[in-house]
C-alpha cells in the first residue's frame, strides 16, 4: 500500500503521536528542502571538547573523592593520586577554555546560540515548555511544538548544565587555590568558601554536582538519539555537521 496513511475511523481516533512516529510513518516531506545552519564550529568544538573533558573529570574526580583502588609497595615508586589529580586539572583547563569560548559565542553566535536561547522567556515559549513536558511524558505527544534549535525544555536543561558547570568550576578552583594561598587563583576564588559555608561544603558541592552531571549524561544521550530517530530532529548529526535539512513546508516555532 503506498497511500499516505489517513486517519481512519473518525470516532475512535487515536491521538496522532506526532512526536513519536516511526520513520516509515512520517509523512516524508516532499518538494523543497533547505539547509539550516544551527551550530557554528565554535559551539561544536565547545560541545565535544567539554564532553571529553567531563568524562575524564568524572572518572578522575571520583577517584580523588574515593580512591577506589589502593596501591601497595614503596610510595616512591607510585604516583597514582598524583597523576589523577594532574589529569583532573588538565581537563579542568580544557573545560574552562571551552567555557570561555562558549561565553564568547553567546555574544557572537546565531540566534540559536546566543543568550536569548538560554531560557524560555515569553509567554508563548513558556507554554511551549509545558507542551514539550507533556509530550515527553507521553501524555500529549501530538502537541509537541517543533523547534529547529533547542526547544524550551532543552533550553532549561542546557542552562541548568551551564550553571552546574560554572559552580563546579568555581568550587574546583577554590579547592585548587588552597595549595598556593597567596596565588592569583586563591585570591580570585576566595569568595567561594565563605559563600557556601566553608571548604568542606565547597568539596561537597563539587562532589554532588559531579553526580548531577553523571545523571545528566545518559538522559542527554537518550533524548538526543530519540529525537534523531523518531522526530527526524537531526540532533545527533547537527552537533557533528552543524546543521540539518528541513522541508520548506514544515513549521518551526523558532524558524
Amino acid at each position: 500500500m503506498t497511500a499516505t496513511p489517513q486517519p481512519a475511523h473518525e470516532p475512535k481516533k487515536w491521538r496522532r503521536p506526532l512526536g513519536i512516529q516511526l520513520r516509515s510513518q512520517l509523512s516524508a516531506p516532499t518538494g523543497d528542502y533547505r539547509w539550516v545552519y544551527l551550530w557554528g564550529w565554535p559551539l561544536r568544538v565547545v560541545h565535544w571538547a567539554s564532553a571529553a573533558a567531563i568524562v575524564v573529570l568524572v572518572v578522575t574526580g571520583l577517584y580523588i573523592g574515593r580512591p577506589y583502588f589502593i596501591i601497595s609497595g614503596e610510595a616512591s615508586n607510585h604516583f597514582v593520586m598524583g597523576w589523577m589529580r594532574f589529569v583532573h586539572f588538565v581537563c579542568a583547563g580544557v573545560l574552562v577554555a571551552a567555557a570561555i569560548l562558549r561565553f564568547y559565542w553567546f555574544l557572537m553566535g546565531n540566534r540559536y546560540e546566543r543568550f536569548g536561547a538560554l531560557f524560555p522567556v515569553s509567554r508563548k515559549r513558556r507554554y511551549d515548555l509545558w507542551r514539550t513536558l507533556r509530550a515527553y511524558a507521553l501524555i500529549r505527544p501530538d502537541e509537541a511544538p517543533k523547534y529547529l534549535g533547542h526547544n524550551p525544555l532543552q533550553q532549561v536543561a542546557v542552562t541548568g548544565v551551564y550553571v552546574a558547570l560554572l559552580v563546579i568550576i568555581c568550587t574546583g578552583f577554590a579547592m585548587y587555590g588552597q595549595a598556593t594561598p597567596d596565588g592569583l587563583i586563591a585570591r580570585a576564588f576566595a569568595w567561594v568558601a565563605p559563600l557556601l559555608g566553608g571548604m568542606q561544603v565547597v568539596r561537597f558541592v563539587h562532589h554532588v554536582l559531579t553526580w548531577c552531571i553523571i545523571i545528566f549524561i545518559p538522559l542527554h544521550i537518550y533524548l538526543a538519539i530519540r529525537h534523531e530517530l523518531l522526530d527526524h530532529g537531526a540532533t545527533v548529526s547537527s552537533i557533528i555537521s552543524g546543521g540539518r535539512f528541513v522541508s520548506v513546508r514544515e513549521h518551526f516555532e523558532d524558524a
Partner: protein
C-alpha cells in the same frame, strides 16, 4: 630544667636580669630567641635585635584575660614536659593578670588588673582566650560579677595590640557550635575598631603564641597576617602540603580502617577523614608538646581545628565529606548519587519501552484503517461495475 619561681619579679628589674636570677644562662636565652626567629621565618640578623628587645623589657607588657573557655590554650602553652625559657618569659611579661597562673585571687586579682591596665594604658598587648557570650546580656560568663563582653571592651580600649588566642577567641569554638545556646562570638565580632590578630587552634601550638608575642615585643608590630587575621608565619600553608604522609597520598596509598595494615605502615589518612587538605596550620612543622609529635604523625586524622567554625563545618571527623541529611539516616553522597543514576537509567529504559508500545499500537491501528479503506474501495468498485 627550671624549677618553680624562687625569685619573684622585682620592680624595675629587666627581663634579662630576672631570667639570670632564675638560672637561665645567656646561651639558653639565645637559643630560645633563635627558635623564635626560626619559627617566625625571620632572617638570622633579627636574632640580636630580638635578644636585645626581650632582655631589656622592664615591665609587665602583656595582659591576659580568660573569658568563656576551658583553659586548654594556657595548658597548651605551659604543659610542656619541662618549663621552658619561653614559659618563664611569658610568666614574667604577663605577671599582672592571668587567672590560672596568678597566686592572687578574688578582688585582689581584679584590682591588679585595673591598676596594670591604668599604668600601662596604650602600651600593653592584650591576649584574650575564650569566647564572649552575648545572649541574655552575657550572663553566661561573668568574672567578678561583670560580663565577659564588658571586661573585654574595657581591656581592649587601652591595648596597643590584641591577640585572640585559640578557636574560642577567634570565632567562638565549641560554645559557638550549632545551636550556640549562649550566643558565643569571637573577639573580632566585638572589637571592630582595632586590628585583632587571631591565633587559631583548639588549642593553638604554644610556640606560635610565644613567637607572636616575641615578634610584637621586638618589632613593636604584629606579624603579617592573612585575610582572616591569622599570622602567615604559622598559618600560611596547608597541613596537606607539609604533611609527612603526603608521599603516600600522591602514591595512592590510603588507610581504610584504623587497624589495617596500611595504618600500621603509616599511610595517608585521607580516606578516614583527614581534613589536612582544608586546614592551614603549622602542626607538621612546629609539632606539639615540646616537639614530641603531632596528631597525623601519631595516626589520627586532622580535624581542622584551626579553621573557623570547624565544629560545624569539618564533621564527620572520620569521613571525608559531610553526609546528606534528610534521608532518614545520614547517607554518603556517593550512595545516593549512584542510586539516582541507576534509577534514571531504569527510567530511560522504561520510557523507551513505553514509546515502543505506543508506536506499535499506532501502527496496528493505521494498518487496520488502511485495510478497511481498501476493502471499502474494493466493494465500491465492485458495486459500480456490477
Amino acid at each position: 630544667m627550671h624549677g618553680p619561681s624562687t625569685h619573684p619579679w622585682v620592680e624595675g628589674e629587666t627581663l634579662g636580669t630576672h631570667l639570670e636570677e632564675r638560672g637561665v644562662d645567656r646561651r639558653e636565652f639565645l637559643t630560645f630567641c633563635g627558635k623564635m626567629v626560626a619559627i617566625l621565618g625571620l632572617a638570622n640578623s633579627a636574632l640580636p635585635r630580638m635578644a636585645e628587645a626581650l632582655q631589656s623589657i622592664k615591665r609587665p607588657s602583656v595582659i591576659w584575660i580568660q573569658l568563656q573557655e576551658c583553659t586548654g590554650c594556657v595548658e597548651s602553652l605551659l604543659r610542656s614536659a619541662e618549663p621552658t625559657v619561653g614559659d618563664l618569659v611569658l610568666d614574667v611579661i604577663s605577671l599582672d593578670y592571668q587567672h590560672t597562673l596568678m597566686a592572687a585571687a578574688g578582688s585582689d586579682l581584679e584590682r591588679a588588673l585595673q591598676s596594670s591596665m591604668a599604668e600601662n594604658k596604650g602600651k600593653y598587648v592584650l591576649v584574650v582566650t575564650g569566647s564572649i557570650p552575648t545572649k541574655e546580656n552575657g550572663i553566661y560568663c561573668t568574672i567578678g560579677g561583670r560580663p565577659a563582653q564588658e571586661i573585654l571592651e574595657e581591656a581592649a580600649a587601652g591595648a596597643a595590640a590584641i591577640l585572640a588566642v585559640g578557636a574560642c577567641a577567634y570565632w567562638g569554638s565549641v560554645q559557638a557550635a550549632r545551636p550556640n545556646p549562649t550566643g558565643a562570638v569571637g573577639v573580632r565580632d566585638i572589637i571592630k575598631n582595632k586590628p585583632v590578630l587571631n591565633i587559631p587552634g583548639c588549642p593553638p601550638i604554644g610556640d606560635v603564641i610565644t613567637a607572636t608575642i616575641a615578634h610584637y615585643l621586638t618589632f613593636n608590630r604584629l606579624p603579617e597576617a592573612d585575610g582572616e587575621g591569622r599570622p602567615l608565619f604559622a598559618y600560611g600553608k596547608r597541613i596537606h602540603d607539609q604533611c609527612t604522609r603526603r608521599s603516600h597520598f600522591d602514591a595512592g596509598q590510603f588507610v581504610e580502617v584504623f587497624d589495617d595494615e596500611a595504618a600500621r605502615k603509616g599511610w595517608c589518612l585521607y580516606h578516614v577523614g583527614c581534613k589536612g587538605p582544608a586546614t592551614f596550620s603549622p602542626c607538621p612543622i612546629f609539632l606539639w608538646n615540646t616537639r614530641t609529635s603531632w596528631p597525623i604523625g601519631a595516626g589520627h586524622p586532622c580535624i581542622g581545628c584551626t579553621e573557623p567554625y570547624f565544629w560545624d563545618t569539618m564533621p564527620p571527623f572520620y569521613d571525608r565529606l559531610p553526609g546528606v541529611v534528610g534521608f532518614g539516616v545520614e547517607r554518603r553522597a556517593d550512595i545516593i548519587g549512584a542510586t539516582l543514576a541507576g534509577a534514571v537509567t531504569a527510567g530511560i529504559a522504561l520510557h523507551a519501552t513505553a514509546t515502543g508500545i505506543y508506536q506499535l499500537r499506532h501502527r496496528r491501528q493505521a494498518e487496520a484503517a488502511e485495510g478497511a479503506a481498501t476493502a471499502a474501495a474494493a466493494t465500491k468498485e465492485d458495486s459500480s461495475n456490477g
